[in-house]
Subunit: 453 residues, 2 copies
């Protein structure tokens, strides 16, 4: 009888985050101040983030201790299970072994809670009583709502107006956990008022919501801002995933030939893959594959340039693969993957050829998601369904070649709030979006010109 | 550092179901044929159920082995975690220790999957290729959809029409797992056509849906019928919950002074409490408390009589506490507790004073649910929120008395598909329904007259 889950006890949970910056042979390009084009210093970030997180952002230490109080909270949903997908393997009739690391068992339903509680903790430590953030479909906003609730911090979420009205369940979830949710653009900030003055019916965008959340935090002393992906410290917090997965693979007496994850801002997959980078750097034969949507293919079609993190152009400039910060991706259901840029760490690893990338279509991802749900039970969120598609394709290649490869795939969350998308797929009404080349080419003309050093 | 979860490994999962009938000093009253009023024999049930389940229904064996193939499937979500509610205890400022056994981590989101896979397995064993069932809000229908998918059995779910339209997510979930879902009343059965002929706009009821599902199964040789609660074999399958909980309490070095669970049909709570009955019978000082809704208080206000299990009056007569089979409970959000009767085993234990019962109001349960969500993270389904209310009240009594009681509560599922109810509560629009005395008194006049032996 093979084990279905490779579980760890609470005592085996990682007590440190792993910092991949310590293992980079080529240093990363620093973020730049958008005005001076000089490398950003800690003081530039202090109005928005607590110093502990800023220090993590730039740390070169190999490990950073997870505070005991935070470990105690992690224990509510960690260690997360690693499943052996026996039934999926059988359904695919493949000799490949498929393992999936499942983060959907957290109360917030995804990996986002790993960094949400950490960010709330460090802000609390520095006396911050209120946070602001933006959210699109609500995955990040709900995780941070719970994180803030755990530490008695007030949270105001600027939620893109069209999602606020179309996805009431995520809004209610945030409110159940005590957050205040405001449809963006709102009358609460200059940025919001400005947008509404131009068009009172403006449906909102992530760019506008970021502007409102940042302005709110920057103009209130007791208030900070919080981001759910892209930044180094956010990716750092997610390394509990990969550290656990490595130990679990070891317990299973196995090691992945291929690691697959979806990427939007990059935090989920970075958390899984980064702890495997030291092995890869030492020459271990493991392929690390990012799955991104054909409709928003930052790594496979973007340019490696300095660009803004937000749509409006308020943030520091980050060196990343970008489709242009003014690019608005098509409305695929994987809202978490609709981002023009990518975490600088992921981009650096990609540029160094330590990881590879592939883009997949929406219908193909839902086909994989439904196969997965019918064999393994769990209904995946649309985002990790991209990773499942790529993992299943690799397993099908093994059926052809007869190779018994070991595939590790990141299942970052459940799809309980995404069933509308499944309905569209099952009824044959789900559109595919091909790569929007013209829109991207137009957006790339707005990427700022930054002289390379 | 106290452990947050008391986990078991897959190897510690129960390999047998525990049959409480073997420990009953006073035998239960048998189900009766509605025509002859004679005790029901196995042959009477054979058109609807496989013989293996019928044998379990009447078995007096103390333990029944869980087939190896089924154990392998249970391992996908079992053993389920027992949590120590450290943060809730702190929020309540109570010296009581609160443990909760969480079944919401199963792919179907509740305990229902424990029996769904077992029923699908035994039907498959006997060559059945299709099952029918009814569902209200869709909790049971979705669990059985996944159970049937695992064994390649076709499933047709008759879903109460008003829910079919109001709760599309549960319908989509069933379809994602491959089930065919039909709004009831439908044109597919005589029962449905009859109801629609009287009123084409009939919104449906659980009673009508049962009639359709039973008729469909009874008129097709390859088709059986499946029920998600009430019957002995259904409760039996749920005993994996209580067996695990007992072992987990033992590992925690603890034993409950009070066990609390919600009851609708009774299967969730029976699964938790029954393995503790042998201790109770031997004189162990443990209180076992059922939490039912004030709007549908079968145990606290019903009569202990033979009555029909369905609204229309097609099923065998069961000796149970009933509010009358024609009683339609008010529209509380805990759809799983809107049942006029109760599992005969639960009723027998209640009649023997081995368990007690209490009824709670809807707003009080949601107040408990929100407190729980804010301290423990998990958003509970409205049904187990009834149990949380009672458990928290007991913990608050301990704050007054200073007693350090140990409370074990059953958290049978998550509330991801019930957030509309949370929205009503948070916005102050959730109605309370008091005990509908006049409706019950009227319904009790329709309970059949069965001479007591």
């Amino acid at each position: 009888m093979d084990l279905v889950k490779i579980e760890l006890s609470e005592k085996e949970m990682p007590t440190r985050w792993y910092n991949v910056l310590s293992d980079m042979r080529v240093p990363m390009s620093p973020p730049l101040h958008p005005g001076t084009l000089q490398p950003l210093g800690p003081a530039d970030l202090a109005p928005l983030f607590p110093m502990a997180l800023i220090m993590q952002e730039v740390s070169q230490d190999r490990y950073i201790d997870i505070p005991e109080e935070l470990q105690q909270i992690y224990r509510m949903w960690r260690p997360s299970p690693l499943f052996r997908a026996h039934r999926l393997e059988k359904a695919l009739d493949t000799p490949a072994k498929i393992y999936y690391k499942y983060e959907g068992g957290s109360p917030a339903g995804s990996h986002k809670l790993n960094t949400a509680v950490a960010q709330a903790f460090y802000n609390k430590q520095e006396g911050i009583t209120k946070l602001t953030t933006e959210t699109g479909a609500g995955q990040w906003g709900s995780a941070l709502a719970l994180g803030c609730q755990f530490f008695g911090i007030e949270l105001k979420v600027y939620m893109v107006k069209v999602s606020y009205h179309q996805k009431p369940y995520r809004r209610i979830l945030m409110e159940t956990w005590g957050a205040q949710v405001t449809a963006s653009p709102s009358q609460d900030t200059n940025a919001g008022r400005q947008v509404l003055a131009q068009n009172p019916e403006n449906p909102g965008s992530l760019g506008t919501a970021i502007s409102e959340a940042v302005e709110d935090a920057a103009t209130h002393d007791d208030t900070h801002y919080s981001l759910g992906s892209v930044l180094n410290h956010v990716l750092l917090h997610q390394t509990v995933i990969g550290q656990e997965a490595k130990l679990q693979m070891e317990k299973a007496g196995d090691y992945p030939d291929i690691i697959v994850g979806c990427i939007g801002g990059g935090s989920n997959f970075a958390g899984l893959l980064m702890p495997f980078i030291p092995d890869k750097v030492k020459g271990k034969n493991v392929r690390i594959v990012c799955a991104e949507p054909e409709a928003c293919p930052s790594l496979t079609k973007g340019l490696y340039r300095y660009d803004f993190g937000d749509t409006i152009g308020l943030t520091p400039l980050l060196k990343m693969y970008t489709l242009g910060h003014t690019f608005t991706p098509p409305r695929i259901h994987a809202g978490g993957l609709r981002y023009h840029g990518m975490a600088p760490i992921i981009c650096h690893l990609y540029d160094q050829k330590l990881i590879e990338a592939t883009a997949v279509h929406q219908n193909a991802t839902f086909e994989a998601a439904v196969s997965f749900a019918r064999s393994e039970g769990i209904v995946p969120a649309p985002e990790p369904a991209h990773a499942l598609r790529v993992a299943m394709d690799e397993a099908l290649k093994c059926r052809e070649s007869g190779e018994k490869k070991t595939i590790l795939v990141g299942l970052s969350g459940h799809g309980h709030f995404d069933l509308g998308a499944y309905d569209e797929y099952l009824s044959g009404n789900l559109p595919d979006y091909s790569y929007p080349r013209e829109l991207v080419e137009e957006a790339l003309t707005h990427v700022p010109q930054v002289p390379e050093k």
